[in-house]
Symmetry: C2
Subunit: 374 residues, 2 copies
């Protein structure tokens, strides 16, 4: 089971330490996304060298392929993917409602058809807990009903009620005391519903709390308002995880609110597309001006890619579509995200967090067309 | 400039040492293929760990993208691709005649249209030498006219004459004494033409000799007969390179004839497709029987992939099309090829080379449908 301790604070931002059976996770922490049990293009060895301490994977995807029994038979998810650090799995709530076809929710659980082969599956909250035990992950998320901010209030209210009922059943179903479980606060953009959701979940005593249903298409101002309101409803002594966020600026903004855990596909997805992150803003490495640029992506970066390759080379590989482009660009971007979080922890300790935020905000706001970084 | 020394022999097979400005290459050697300046999916660091001492790249591809001037401006091909070991570039003769559209050969050189964007290019033998100097590779191949075995004798004879004339002009054009040049023997499946080609090239005193125009669609028995006949026509004291070959069994068969250098896209291409090589034969890792197989691809293999991942995991990644499948499978296959050559060198030294050949032949002949390994 995990243990969590807040070690330093600066205003609402905090530095903490999450102890797991697979090592320590320094928070605020970014979790690279390993959807099907692999962070796309990055070996576990390179991932560790990037500084990753925890990786996120996904019950929904692993359930469909290769099937969680297969992973259990092969010694659990850590051994399966060769990842010695901590693992957290999302419950699949978000994926069922965004990827799967014909998802039908009932009291019992959710019935959906696989986006891969159309096969029909029933997922109950108890199944998700059981599956996460079989996977042997350090932290599991409970099954939630994830609705976007655009749904009518009654729909959002029903999702909150269902998510609370499922959360209680998830805790009851847990047999394996080595599996930490996080509850997920829903409630769309409605403060009152977010309050209700948090009020129902927090007495249940989860090992951590997540805020879900954000960054799923709503106005970014709404994301911020809801995230800011909701964090105040969550226990101070537990890790608080804002799901599916985000750009470098976002990470720091939400760290400032007091969130501890983050995940996002941006560093790997943008890496494959040739969008690279740096402390001075993004580098669109396909741009012709980099063709003969001998500098690394970021002169201040200590990643393998920046230590060995020029912008000119990365541009060439990206333009020719060579697989190694995705590998090298993703290594850089994941390293950047992890290094940004390390800088955030240091800045919180040193009392200079607002300086770091301003630097990153300035670097990214200077660039127009920011939306396409996403 | 390179130096080559034959150190041990066992019948016609030989162990040698090629000294280059970028390290030693123990021969017989396999050169992983880095077509556009990258071995697909494998970082230079992983490539070194696989045991690679020399990598092959390609004038034709680099000329089109990113352009050899760009590579020159970025410090040459070694620095560009971050590869500290030896580099050999193919001249583009083969690619012009197989990939490019509308190739027209004249005394002057070859005019062709790029397979990438249709742009028109003229490549003369002098240009190829100049380009290889700019790239700064250790070994360059001269421009040749590569014709398949199926062409009429007059066409093959004309190609031999042209290849010889171009070879002489290539040597005359060389200003850079650090660039070693290899001549390429052509002559299709005609022994007399192969003899003529070798007789014309060998007095020119190239630093090494290649046999081209094989493994381009002809019957494998023809490949063997021509390769066996031609090697006897080449100087014993120079490295002898059989271009574009082959499967594990082929490599050993041609090592037995006395060839020293090989290149082939098989280990990386088959890796991406989920065909894995082992000492006991190939493993088609997509096969359902591997779904829960906890064993590494090859229990006797010391590569990163076999040290950390099961067949079940590689099958899963290959089936889901995750980029990491290509990376991990390619690392294993390239390591297998390099290890096979290391074993061949040891066996030649120990006088047990025929045992090794029988073992590999038996492992691969046992499997039906061998052709599709290709």
């Amino acid at each position: 089971m995990i243990r969590f301790e807040v070690r330093e604070r600066s205003a609402s931002a905090r530095v903490g330490r999450l102890d797991t059976a697979h090592g320590i996770v320094d928070t605020p922490a970014f979790m690279p996304v390993g959807t099907v049990g692999a962070v796309k293009g990055i070996t576990p060895r390179d991932l560790q060298e990037c500084g990753a301490q925890i990786v996120l994977s996904n019950v929904y995807h692993l359930l469909l392929r290769p099937g969680t029994e297969t992973i259990g038979a092969l010694g659990g998810l850590h051994r399966f993917m060769g990842w010695p650090g901590a693992l957290l799995t999302d419950s699949g709530g978000y994926q069922v409602f965004s990827l799967a076809a014909l998802a039908t929710v009932s009291h019992e659980g959710v019935v959906f058809r696989s986006h891969v082969d159309g096969s029909r599956h029933l997922l109950r909250p108890e199944d998700v807990v059981e599956v996460q035990s079989v996977l042997g992950v350090d932290v599991g998320m409970v099954l939630d009903e994830c609705v976007p901010c655009s749904v009518p209030r009654e729909v959002a209210a029903a999702a909150v009620a269902r998510t609370s009922a499922w959360a209680a059943r998830s805790l009851d179903a847990r047999r394996d005391r080595s599996l930490a479980l996080f509850g997920i606060v829903q409630g769309a953009a409605d403060f009152e519903l977010r309050e209700r959701s948090a009020a129902e979940l927090t007495p249940m005593g989860f090992e951590g709390y997540a805020v879900g249903g954000l960054s799923v298409g709503e106005d970014p101002r709404v994301t911020r308002e809801v995230a800011a309101h909701t964090i105040g409803l969550l226990p101070q002594d537990r890790p608080r995880y804002l799901m599916g966020i985000g750009r470098p600026v976002d990470l720091l903004d939400f760290v400032a609110m007091g969130y501890d855990l983050f995940d996002c596909v941006l560093p790997t997805r943008n890496g494959r597309n040739g969008w690279l992150f740096t402390r001075s803003g993004r580098v669109a490495v396909r741009n012709a001006r980099y063709a003969r640029d001998p500098r690394p992506v970021d002169e201040r970066c200590s990643c393998y890619t920046c230590g060995h390759f020029s912008r000119g080379y990365l541009r060439h590989l990206t333009m020719t579509g060579d697989m190694l482009a995705g590998v090298l660009n993703s290594i850089h971007n994941v390293h950047f995200y992890l290094e940004l979080m390390r800088s955030a922890r240091e800045a919180i300790r040193a009392g200079s967090f607002s300086t770091l935020r301003s630097e990153i905000a300035a670097a990214y706001e200077r660039q127009t067309g920011l939306a396409d970084v996403r």
